[in-house]
């Protein structure tokens, strides 16, 4: 069996009286890419945000069950969500450059938080992260220009570089390519393969080809339930649940 990095056990997320996801138990294997697929509104984002305690920001959310990172429960009393988010990074669906910061400052924003001041070190990290996000060549001559001047695809890669700069152990990506053109999408898919040598990745995607191309494991969600989980190849070629089969063959969703 593969080594585990994260794991959920009977995870249920309530939004007030309604339920976002219900009773999900899912392993996240170390330095593998796990894809979450399923039709709109099935709970993929809800599930993902439970993995780095982003739901803490929403007072109506209530969480039941366990989420473990290296065996420790993220929601145990006394666990600091800030520390968790440093270890479990997140890239959102829409690019979110900080508009008052330059490209460089955007990328090193997370390092500034932990008090890194050394210019050379910051520059080194910025370069490494931008290269990892396949953006370095495009921006290396304009690092000190505002990040909002970039195209949508470039902005999304800034968001990825920013998340990578703090060297998270796990990276959560919520449809990172849904707003991008095919070339930017390709660039990001290519970088995922390289990233997984260091980082464990959980990626939400609407695009089944993408899930099939990039991921090692896939989980299929439907109406708040996790219907099926397995190695990507097996799940796509030989799904065990008829609903999974219906979804991947495009019969609904």
């Amino acid at each position: 069996m593969e080594p585990l990095r994260m794991e959920t056990e009977n995870l249920t997320v309530h939004y007030g009286k309604s339920v976002g996801v219900r009773n999900v138990s899912l392993p996240v294997y170390d330095r593998k890419i796990t894809a979450l697929i399923g039709p709109s509104g099935c709970g993929k984002t809800t599930f993902l945000r439970a993995l780095n305690r982003m739901h803490d920001l929403n007072p109506i959310v209530r969480i039941e069950g366990r989420v473990r990172l290296d065996g420790e429960d993220l929601y145990a009393p006394g666990v600091d969500p800030v520390a968790i988010r440093r270890r479990v990074g997140m890239v959102f669906q829409r690019p979110t450059p900080f508009p008052t910061m330059s490209i460089f400052e955007n990328v090193v924003a997370g390092l500034r938080l932990v008090g890194v001041r050394d210019r050379e070190r910051l520059m080194g990290v910025a370069e490494r992260s931008l290269k990892a996000a396949a953006l370095w060549d495009e921006v290396k001559d304009r690092l000190h220009e505002p990040a909002v001047g970039l195209s949508g695809g470039q902005q999304q890669r800034i968001s990825i570089a920013r998340a990578l700069a703090v060297e998270p152990e796990v990276l959560l990506m919520d449809e990172p390519t849904s707003a991008l053109d095919p070339i930017s999408t390709q660039a990001i898919e290519d970088l995922l393969a390289g990233l997984k040598e260091q980082v464990t990745i959980v990626i939400v995607t609407h695009n089944m080809q993408q899930a099939a191309r990039v991921s090692d494991y896939t989980a299929f969600f439907l109406n708040g339930d996790m219907i099926e989980f397995g190695p990507t190849e097996r799940l796509f070629t030989n799904p065990s649940d008829p609903r999974t089969e219906a979804y991947i063959t495009g019969r609904f969703g």
Partner: protein, 314 residues
């Protein structure tokens, strides 16, 4: 088909109405400026524009009029009041928008907004009956006595500890402009998109770090707009200042001693002005006040354009 024509006609009529109303407002503003300028023309002719603006004597008997003490009084009181009000106003806005539980935030926001709704004569009365004795007994007299013993040179700077004067006026003015600075800052902070905050949280930021690195920079345009509004308000504030500042254009001003602003001068002297050159000088001061407000707004607008983030920028 019919409804489309109606729609077009309606659009046209509405546009025309807007244009007429807009022009009317501009016309009133221009007329106002014109009235002040022509009323003050005699003073400007007698002393020259710069001579009037920089002259420091104001003497009805000798028919000598200069606006400088009042210009200075307005600049000092409004700048100091703004300096005093800014941090509390911003802190209140941050507390309301980011930290306080919903019910408390609503109560506090309501109370702060209420401060803006109080008539300024009420501030004046409160100043005279509550603040002035307090300032006199608790701040001015102890400081004055202390300086008499230890630093006699300071006594001139501090001025007479009577409670009526610059210090009391500035304190009340600061209180009066807090809601203006605060409510615009609050709105701007509310308008910072959630995904901006979340992006910073996701990097492992604490709440304060999110406020400092994302919320305040993003909201800086609105915060600045509040500052400008507060400043404009302070520059024009008349009643409360007139009641508290002591109305003396005698330079040099001291910290505790009486002073005057352009607005307080006009309010104080207009009723008993003898006509002729004195009245014209008062109108000329009004014209300068108008110019000052206009300058503040133009400069602010220029800065605001460069500062705004998000919608304002595109």
């Amino acid at each position: 088909m019919r409804s489309r024509i109606y729609g077009k006609l309606g659009d046209r009529a509405f546009t025309a109405l807007l244009v007429v109303l807009g022009l009317a407002v501009m016309l009133v503003a221009v007329l106002l400026a014109w009235e002040l300028a022509s009323g003050g023309a005699e003073a400007f002719r007698t002393f020259g524009f710069w001579g009037f603006a920089s002259g420091s004597a104001w003497n009805a008997v000798a028919e000598q009029f200069g606006a400088w003490p009042f210009l200075l009084g307005t600049l000092i009181t409004s700048a100091v009041a703004l300096a005093l009000a800014f941090l509390p106003a911003l802190a209140a806005a941050i507390a309301i928008a980011e930290y306080a539980p919903r019910w408390l935030a609503e109560v506090v926001a309501y109370l702060i907004d209420l401060l803006a709704a109080l008539p300024s004569v009420v501030y004046g009365l409160w100043g005279i009956f509550v603040l002035v004795p307090l300032v006199r007994d608790r701040i001015e007299q102890p400081l004055f006595l202390w300086s008499a013993e230890h630093a006699p040179a300071l006594m001139g700077v501090l001025g007479p500890p009577t409670g009526i004067g610059m210090l009391s006026a500035v304190l009340v003015l600061a209180l009066m402009i807090v809601p203006y600075a605060s409510s615009l800052a609050r709105d701007a902070i509310h308008m910072v998109p959630r995904d901006q905050r979340e992006a910073m949280y996701a990097l492992g930021a604490t709440r304060w770090e999110v406020v400092r690195r994302v919320v305040l920079p993003y909201a800086r345009g609105g915060i600045f707009a509040g500052v400008v509004l507060a400043l404009a308000r302070a520059i024009g504030e008349t009643m409360a200042v007139t009641m508290l500042i002591g109305n003396s254009g005698q330079l040099p001003y001291s910290v505790f001693g009486p002073a005057a602003t352009m607005a307080s001068l006009i309010a104080n002297e207009f009723a008993e002005a003898e006509g002729g050159l004195q009245l014209s000088s008062l109108l000329a001061v009004g014209f300068l006040l108008l110019l000052l407000s206009l300058a503040v707004n133009l400069i602010a607008d220029f800065i605001l354009r460069r500062m705004s983030v998000g919608e304002g920028r595109k």
